[in-house]
């Protein structure tokens, strides 16, 4: 329990909380969220519109549902190191983009399949009625499909985000950054003496992840009541592929 006391002391050190300190907590949290968010934005832009369009036009059905399974088969750790390897053999700096590239590659498959499935599961009768009223394809996508699928897509984004945050921490192994992962990995390297930092880092990482998760969950709830649809427990099941 001495460890708990040491951990608390480590966390309570005021110098760590100065925003300007490079190895301080605010800096690391900011770094962590920056890397994660950049990766998520790019991944979302690359996967969601494409998935929505393919789903709307009913193309690539078998492939689209299996993409997420393929993505799951790729180990995050291996991918990070692979990208780092490729960067180190070329002129690219290994500090930022290799990690982000790996994160993007990891975030895309679940968001893609999730968005695809969400659009496909829109009630065909509603679409039928819309077409019958003379709506164009663009109109249907914008005014119907996206609105009805939004809660499920939001769940997919949240789950991918959580995964990216977790994987960013592992990035600390191959970079000088890696946000909160730095504390964990760095603390490990220090042996016994570094354990307070390890535990503190782990607690901070867990808390930040939960915070992001709950915030996004809350926003989802607002989205659900705005769109007036479904329940998010069911949406989560679609997103994590619970029914297969």
């Amino acid at each position: 329990m001495e460890l708990l006391v040491d951990t608390w002391q480590w966390l309570a050190e005021p110098a760590r909380w100065q925003p300007t300190v490079r190895n301080g907590i605010p800096y690391r949290i900011g770094e962590h969220l920056w890397v994660s968010t950049v990766a998520m934005l790019i991944a979302a832009m690359a996967s969601i519109p494409a998935a929505v369009m393919l789903a709307h036009y009913r193309r690539a059905e078998a492939w689209s549902s299996s993409v997420v399974n393929l993505g799951r088969a790729i180990p995050s750790f291996g991918l990070i190191v692979m990208f780092w390897l490729l960067a180190s053999r070329s002129e690219i700096s290994t500090q930022f983009w290799p990690l982000v590239a790996a994160l993007i590659a990891l975030a895309m498959p679940p968001m893609f399949t999730n968005s695809y499935t969400a659009i496909r599961s829109v009630d065909p009768e509603v679409l039928d009625a819309a077409r019958g009223m003379g709506m164009t394809d663009a109109g249907i996508v914008r005014h119907i499909e996206l609105l009805l699928a939004a809660p499920i897509i939001a769940v997919g984004i949240r789950l991918a985000y959580v995964q990216v945050i977790a994987t960013t921490a592992i990035g600390a192994i191959v970079t000088d950054g890696g946000g909160l992962g730095r504390f964990i990995v760095g603390g490990f390297a220090q042996g016994r003496g570094g354990w307070p930092m390890v535990v503190a880092g782990a607690i901070l990482l867990a808390l930040v992840t939960l915070l992001v998760d709950r915030t996004l969950h809350f926003l989802e709830g607002r989205l659900v009541s705005a769109a007036g649809v479904g329940n998010t427990l069911a949406a989560t099941e679609v997103a994590t592929g619970a029914a297969g």
Partner: protein, 219 residues
């Protein structure tokens, strides 16, 4: 910058180090299979408990979702002061990740068995136990196996991270390839590649098991 770089893949190395690679694969599989099996047993018990009282299900899902959200690195680190670094640490963490997926799939699987089928079974005079094992479980199997597939593939990926705890497996190959100077790409490529191959292989085998166990769906 880097010293002389090694080629991305050295076939000769692989051939002469098959035993080392093989050992890593075995270690990886031991961790994976034990975690999934323990996870399945635990989840079945939890699912059975949840099915008796629907309100428990919601709470169990919330609790395991919470655990699922905690990054693996953090979970390993938090467990370390309690159980040290090693198989127990890794297994506890891995099992907790499988629980969310498996409990949800087992419960959903059993609940989606058509109500009229169960009602007919009761009315014909089948005992509750017989109904569970000869009607509900077989009909829930597709959904349950789908969950086992997802859990297995996920765990195979997570096991690579356990290399940071000092455990073996394919993650150790990756780590070794990375920590040496100059970096040894073959180790990294083999470690990552085999992890993908294992994941796909298990997925396909389990899919095959599912198909074999549900002949009425192929008709």
């Amino acid at each position: 910058m880097a010293a002389s770089t090694r080629p991305l893949f050295e076939w000769s190395w692989l051939v002469s180090n098959l035993d080392r690679v093989g050992a890593a694969v075995v270690q990886h599989l031991v961790l994976t299979v034990s975690a999934v099996i323990i996870g399945l047993c635990l989840s079945s018990a939890l699912a059975a408990w949840c099915l008796r009282h629907p309100s428990r299900y919601r709470r169990v899902i919330e609790a395991s979702s919470l655990l699922y959200t905690v990054p693996s690195l953090a979970l390993f680190a938090l467990l370390a002061p309690i159980v040290g670094l090693g198989y127990i640490n890794a297994t506890i963490a891995l099992v907790s990740y499988t629980v969310l997926i498996l409990v949800r799939n087992i419960v959903t699987g059993i609940l989606q068995v058509p109500g009229d089928v169960v009602e007919a079974a009761i009315g014909m005079g089948m005992t509750r136990r017989r109904i569970l094992w000869t009607v509900e479980v077989p009909l829930a199997l597709p959904v349950i196996v789908a969950g086992v597939r997802i859990a297995t593939v996920t765990v195979i990926g997570l096991v690579t991270v356990t290399a940071l705890l000092g455990l073996g497996g394919l993650g150790q190959l990756i780590l070794s390839g990375f920590r040496v100077l100059p970096p040894f790409p073959t180790l990294i490529v083999v470690g990552t590649g085999l992890s993908v191959v294992l994941a796909i292989a298990f997925d396909l085998v389990l899919l095959g098991v599912q198909r074999l166990a549900t002949p009425w769906q192929q008709a």
